[in-house]
């Protein structure tokens, strides 16, 4: 067989059975190695930006929240914050603190969710189930504060909608203790467990130069040694007062992305404690006039997945003239293509999951031999099973080779 004949193209997606939205990737592979990656986005395109122009500022709060279900508070908070700047009002300190608390609790829930999904992708389902069991603790806390488990509807223009009582404060602190203890255990698991080290160390390399060049954001960038975090670089909410560390790892692989998120969870827990202990007295919201004079504002927040960007233009009515959103996953697509190049087919699921995408449609992978036009179809689940089986057979040599580097 000549060399050309060994080059295959693998379209992956767009359907998938897991918890993420869909996406279509085309992998060009030479044997087991991925040599090129292409992608097509837009399957979930609903026309939210256009729809927002026909809704009032208050109605848009709930539309923006539903752009992403996992980082809903980040979206809603970012929108509310941007409109506040547009209308030139400021939320009272207590409102800002509660909003920041929700952001951090959401980050805990999102990072734990991701750790579970990553464990599932490498076939470590015990860890997946354990993490999701403990994640219910933070879900309960969010439900106690806001009344809903996922879309909290806490932020509103000019503050937040619900207050935190002293009784609730104690319950949250108790919940945070349990979370801290469990996260410590998971950190130990991630540092020592051979299953994770073998599949995550030296996989999906994204060097610092590549991360800067391709504009990686959030934990993906921080795992490649790029010291960037909007909470510190461009403080918003209560972040200019809360003490916290920015977690940066420089090993540039999937393991670094795991550890950045686990360490950030500790930071989040400490920040929540600080916020609750230093919660200022006073109102939780200010009044907001429904109509906003002509103005335009850019707002940014650090969502669990990275920098979230909002642009809003007003025209003197109660509806925005233009709303533009850029989500962190879009910024991280080009870096993930770079990570996949040169890797094995079996590493695709974990590397794709590594950026914590709001999609990952690996269902129905279609394998096409360009020369003989032979086709076969793989689902994402089959690809996952294939990757686990492949590592059982070839794992030892691959891992040995990786450790040598």
């Amino acid at each position: 067989m000549s060399v050309e004949k060994r080059i295959f193209k693998i379209p992956v997606g767009p359907q998938h059975p897991a918890l993420k939205e869909f996406e279509h990737f085309v992998f060009t592979v030479d044997g087991e190695r991925v040599i090129d990656v292409g992608f097509r986005i837009g399957y979930t395109h609903r026309g939210i930006e256009k729809l927002a122009e026909s809704k009032t500022y208050i109605q848009n709060l709930y539309l923006c929240e539903r752009i992403c279900g996992i980082c809903s508070a980040a979206h809603q908070g970012c929108y509310a914050q941007t409109v506040e700047e547009l209308a030139d009002i400021t939320a009272p300190p207590r409102g800002t603190y509660i909003r920041t608390l929700i952001w951090e609790l959401e980050r805990i829930h999102s990072h734990l969710l991701w750790l579970g999904v990553a464990a599932h992708e490498i076939g470590f389902d015990t860890l997946f189930m354990l993490v999701w069991r403990d994640r219910e603790v933070v879900m309960d806390l969010l439900e106690m504060i806001s009344g809903n488990r996922v879309n909290y509807a806490m932020s509103t223009i000019g503050g937040v909608r619900r207050d935190i009582s002293d009784e609730l404060k104690h319950k949250i602190l108790k919940g945070l203790d349990i979370l801290e203890e469990r996260t410590k255990y998971y950190k130990e698991v991630c540092m020592k467990e051979q299953t994770i080290l073998a599949r995550a160390a030296n996989v999906g390399i994204l060097t610092r130069e590549q991360a800067l060049k391709l504009n990686a954001v959030g934990p993906t960038a921080r795992a490649s040694g790029v010291d960037v975090d909007l909470r510190r670089d461009d403080p918003y909410g209560a972040y200019d007062e809360v003490p916290f560390n920015v977690i940066v790892y420089d090993t540039c692989d999937v393991l670094a992305r795991v550890l950045v998120r686990v360490d950030e969870t500790f930071e989040c827990i400490n920040m929540c404690r600080w916020l609750l202990e230093n919660l200022p007295e006073g109102d939780i919201r200010t009044k907001f006039a429904r109509k906003i004079a002509e103005n335009e504002v850019v707002g940014r927040v650090e969502a669990p997945r990275g920098e979230l960007f909002y642009y809003i233009k007003s025209n003197g009515t109660d509806k925005p003239e233009r709303l533009k959103v850029r989500t962190p996953t879009l910024a991280n697509i080009l870096p993930v293509c770079e990570m996949l190049k040169g890797g094995y087919i079996a590493d695709i699921p974990i590397v794709l999951a590594g950026i914590d995408p709001c999609f990952a449609c690996m269902d129905r992978a279609l394998f096409i031999d360009e020369n003989s036009e032979k086709k076969w179809v793989w689902s994402r689940e089959q690809l996952r099973i294939y990757s686990i089986k492949w590592y059982k057979e070839h794992g030892n040599e691959v891992v040995r080779e990786r450790w040598k580097q």
């Binding site: 897991a18 918890l19 979930t44 609903r46 999701w132 689940e381 089959q382």
Partner: protein, 144 residues
């Protein structure tokens, strides 16, 4: 034959395998569906398993409104499933299109594309509500 069909029905009720498909939603219902499968809520005790292929599944769990891009794919998945097949639509978006109703990329509820057996309202529904929807579906299976 009566004995055989009884046996088949018993097997079907004890192990309704599901395939989960997001037809354009925001992920919130998806994480609640997965939460229902994990230890706190654990629908696996009803014999429910998440499957990757539509050909292995009895129940199609759909979340989110149907977008123009996904309608044909949703119908294709539905057609690939073996009879008898059931559809569980999770979330307000699957009923009417929810908050996205009126957007140019959104067609509306899931029944725009495929017939639905049980709707679970909520944005997103709690795992308890999803479990109730599953129980309703099992009752419906009992009657078939």
């Amino acid at each position: 034959m009566a004995v055989l069909s009884k046996l088949v029905k018993w097997a079907r009720i004890k192990s309704p395998w599901i395939i989960h498909y997001n037809s354009g939603g925001c992920n919130a219902c998806d994480i609640e569906v997965v939460a229902a499968l994990t230890p706190r809520f654990d629908v696996e005790r009803f014999g429910i398993l998440l499957k990757g292929s539509p050909r292995h599944a009895d129940v199609l769990v759909v979340t989110g409104p149907v977008t123009r891009q996904t309608k044909n794919r949703l119908i294709r998945i539905y057609n690939q499933m073996a009879d008898p097949k059931f559809v569980l639509a999770v979330g307000t978006c699957t009923i009417t299109g929810g908050v996205f109703r009126g957007a140019y990329g959104v067609l509306g509820g899931v029944d725009e594309a495929i017939p639905v057996d049980v709707f679970v309202p909520g944005c997103p529904p709690k795992p308890e509500a999803i479990i109730q929807g599953v129980v309703k579906l099992l009752e419906k299976l009992q009657k078939t």
